[in-house]
Amino acid sequence: MGLEAADRIEAVDVGPALVAPAPPSAASRSFEDVYRDDYARMVRVAHLLTGSNETAEDIVQDAFVKLYDRFDTLGDVSGYLYRAVVNSCWNRHRHLKVVERLQHLTVPATVAGVSEIDETLSALRILAPRRRAVVVLRYYADLRLEEIAQILGCRLGTVKSALHRALAELKEAIPR
């Protein structure tokens, strides 16, 4: 796929692993509570990761279906959702590349600079998937680097490195 090894996100099963410290209320929340608390936030994260609101909703709804089957076994459902959403966004990214390859399609270049929103999305799009995920989880979801490492299934050092490189790239892409 032409990606550096450091930029890949491990395609692991979003199993019942705990990916972040469980909030005290996690065990007492119902599935509907989780939907009410987390759905919109997860869609926003997925939107930032994919650049598409519609795709984001599809991914998050799929994540909730997966969550439903494991709900009783999870201690930290939010961590699970983050992991499922990030992995699905990454899968979607790879899917687009495969489709482009197989169907000889050319994905039209995004027109940047139309607005600051577009400019930001374009800047995110130039980042490799892992770097993009690190940036979004750190600066939008406000997660700690250790939590991000658990969600992405990589080492803390890898997250720090990815963040550093991402910021260097964004510095050029985002005028201040």
């Binding site: 395609a11 709804q61 495969v98 910021l167």
Partner: protein, 304 residues
């Protein structure tokens, strides 16, 4: 980039990401959509005793039908039934298990079955490709008299016999000492899914999905076998032109996976036992042995 640059950029990034996120809209019917998707997903088999009894009777009938069918086929058409005959499973006739004694490479070969006579979705007149369920037996896949029927409905809540508890016929199975692994497949939301059963039939292990299509994609699953040993497998999808999927270790050991039929357009499921040692990569080869794809950790996906 200096620390000062980072400090300058961080608040700007936070603001911009927040601004983009603020434009995100959510569907008011999302909750209903999730409920619909949950209802449409494979359901565990919690059938009544009556349903189970009917399933047993149906199984007996199918066993007889399968036995009769097999007895009328010549040798090249025989189907390995693995105790669970099915007209939609692409069983292999032989398993060529070869262990080299003078090299460091051990190769276990399971060739893709091409001998199934009915019900291979997407292949031949007997196949019924199902846009949603793929190999949904409710569409006639297990009914010898209904070959070619296209299934469009969700699988039954209670699994008829010779199907797994998710209500679908396994599309590929792999049996060895201490395990019988089986995969069921379906599509939803633009993704191809696989459920993994093992080490015995009906023992659900895990599930995973990949966007449709993939070139070669796999995932690792580990099960405790009936022999109390741990068995590790890779499973996934590969393009239909692949004749072999190999699981290759850093030490050069390789195992050839068993391929299922083309359950979805251009996509075949596969599963293979992990060879001893550290797996280095997966590779798909065509009928001439030519390398099609080579994928490695950590994504185990892509290759094209």
């Amino acid at each position: 980039m200096s620390d000062r640059d980072v400090l300058d950029l961080e608040p700007e990034l936070r603001r911009r990401l927040g601004d983009v996120a603020a434009t995100t809209t959510t569907d008011e019917a999302a909750w209903d959509a999730i409920q619909d998707r949950i209802a449409a997903r494979p359901a565990p088999a919690h059938g009544s005793r009556r349903a189970r009894l009917l399933a047993v009777v149906a199984a007996a009938v199918l066993v007889v039908v399968a036995a009769v069918a097999l007895s009328h086929q010549d040798d090249s058409d025989k189907i390995q039934t693995d105790n669970t005959p099915s007209t939609t499973i692409d069983r292999t006739t032989t398993t060529d298990r070869t262990t080299s004694t003078n090299r460091t490479t051990t190769s276990t070969t399971s060739r893709a079955g091409s001998t199934s006579t009915t019900g291979v979705p997407g292949q031949g007149p007997g196949g019924g490709t199902t846009p949603e369920g793929g190999v949904n037996p409710a569409g006639g896949g297990t009914d010898p008299g209904a070959g070619g029927a296209t299934a469009t409905t969700a699988p039954p809540a209670t699994a008829p016999d010779n199907t797994r508890q998710d209500g679908r016929v396994p599309v590929v199975s792999l049996a060895g000492s201490g395990y019988t692994m089986e995969l069921t497949a379906w599509q939803s939301g633009g993704s191809n899914h696989l459920n993994v059963f093992g080490p015995t039939t009906d023992a659900y292990q895990t599930t995973w999905s990949w966007p449709n299509p993939v070139c070669l994609a796999g995932l690792r699953v580990e099960v405790a076998g009936t022999d109390n040993a741990t068995h590790s497998f890779f499973y996934g999808y590969v393009t239909a032109d692949a004749a072999e999927v190999l699981i290759v270790t850093t030490g050069g050991l390789s195992t050839s996976a068993r391929l299922g039929p083309e359950v979805f357009s251009g996509q075949r499921p596969w599963i293979g036992e992990e060879p001893p040692g550290q797996v280095d990569h997966l590779e798909a080869r065509d009928g001439s042995g030519g390398l099609l794809y080579n994928v490695a950790a950590p994504t185990w996906d892509g290759g094209c």
